[in-house]
């Protein structure tokens, strides 16, 4: 059987047995090559599932929309987001059934280290080997002169129209009330002035730090093609280097910014490490 056949068979089995009320997956989109999230509630609807290049949205975002038990077809990044959501008490492990499958959109995220599901109740296909992420894109940027980096960053930030699609699509951004909309106090100016855009993006990047798993959903959602990936991946690289960990790989490990070690590095101090 193909992966898709395995997925469909499992989805039907779950729905027939009433083990879940809905299975979240992908169906053919209205544009060629695009896939759209699809919520199958009957075995007939399961027939509309596809599993192909273009199935690249992060479906974990939809889990909280249902109150009953939910099945989800999850590739690597979805499962890593699910792990984070379980750890942050946003999703109940008992209430989800994870059908794991390798990401069919390989190539859209070069460098992806975890195309396969990290956790699953059922694997629709053999687990695939990990790739290596060398963060060469981030390193190349680090090599530039600070003025060049600043110019590029300002130019990217000036493109943003503050539609918040990047936030809405991100499974790590589940706050019912986001700082970008709060008015009392008004933490953040609501304009698309460069400064407000910059403050928004730096804060967004920090808020998802340690929870962002580089699924790229924000980048795909952005209508202005703002390079959000550069900021997200910079912090992923730092987290790897400073704290030797990668978010969303284990149900047990605390999120990296929720814990500390006595001897954590302090490169930020005046005079560096030794000044303590």
């Amino acid at each position: 059987m193909t992966v898709l056949e395995n997925i469909k068979a499992k989805a039907k089995e779950l729905l027939e047995a009433k083990e879940v009320e809905v299975v979240i997956g992908f169906a053919q989109g209205t544009l060629p090559g695009k896939c759209t999230p699809y919520f199958a509630r009957t075995t007939e609807e399961v027939e509309r599932f596809v599993w192909q290049d273009g199935c690249n949205l992060n479906l974990a975002n939809y889990l909280s929309k249902f109150s009953g038990k939910v099945g989800i077809i999850a590739k690597g990044c979805d499962t890593r987001s699910i792990i984070n959501l379980i750890k942050e008490n946003q999703v109940n492990r008992e209430r989800i059934y994870i059908i794991g499958a390798n990401c069919p959109s390989m190539g859209s995220c070069h460098n992806c280290r975890h195309p396969q599901g990290v956790i699953a109740d059922f694997y629709a296909e053999q687990v695939q080997l990990n790739n290596q992420d060398d963060f060469s894109d981030v390193e190349a940027f680090e090599e530039l002169l600070s003025e060049e980096r600043k110019n590029y960053f300002y130019q990217e930030m000036s493109k943003c129209i503050r539609c918040y699609a990047c936030r809405n699509v991100c499974p790590a951004c589940y706050c019912k009330e986001c700082f970008v909309e709060e008015n009392l106090p008004c933490w953040l100016g609501k304009t698309t002035d460069l400064a407000d855009n910059i403050i928004f993006h730096l804060t967004r990047t920090m808020h998802v730090a340690g929870r962002c798993i580089d699924c790229g959903a924000c980048v795909r959602a952005c209508p202005m093609e703002v390079n959000l990936s550069l900021l997200n991946r910079k912090l992923l690289k730092d987290i790897q280097e400073l704290f030797n960990t990668e978010p969303g790989l284990s149900l047990e490990a605390e999120p990296v910014l929720n814990e500390y070690k006595e001897d954590d590095p302090q490169p930020f101090l005046i005079g560096g490490e030794e000044s303590v």
């Binding site: 910059i198 500390y260 005046i270």
Partner: protein, 138 residues
């Protein structure tokens, strides 16, 4: 004269660095007048947004809290420490000058250290090229 208009925002933990600044004052240690102090309950309270937002209006930022092990809430500064490391690195990444945002640990007993750090940080920020307030100041 030009530097007189510059401003440095200092987020100081109530239990240590703020008291350290107080001690500096009581002990009559001089520190630059353009440091504007904002008292915070713990260095763990520093949302990255505070720092990014302060830079819209000020020329630089200093954040200071209790020494590791001395936090009034036991681990506020230890958790903050990881965040600070990322903030500092992110700001450097997007091309900010090294000295524009600085962090240190200053205890309530270190009035002289506060004065020294404040003088050093303000001096460094004064000597940086004119800050653009995230592009707000032309």
């Amino acid at each position: 004269m030009k530097n007189m208009q510059k401003k440095v925002v200092a987020f100081l933990c109530n239990w240590c660095s703020y008291a350290g600044a107080d001690l500096a004052g009581v002990s009559r240690f001089q520190y630059p007048p353009h440091i504007r102090i904002i008292r915070i309950p713990c260095s763990g309270r520093v949302d990255p947004l505070f720092i990014f937002n302060a830079l819209k209006y000020a020329d630089g930022v200093l954040v200071a809290g209790c020494h590791p092990g001395d936090c009034h809430y036991t681990s506020g500064n230890l958790v903050a420490r990881r965040k600070f490391a990322l903030i500092k690195s992110l700001l450097d990444f997007i091309g900010l000058e090294e000295g524009r945002v600085q962090f240190d640990w200053i205890s309530a007993a270190e009035g002289n250290k506060f004065a020294e750090v404040a003088t050093k940080v303000a001096g460094e920020i004064d000597n940086l090229p004119q800050w653009d307030g995230w592009g707000e100041r032309k």
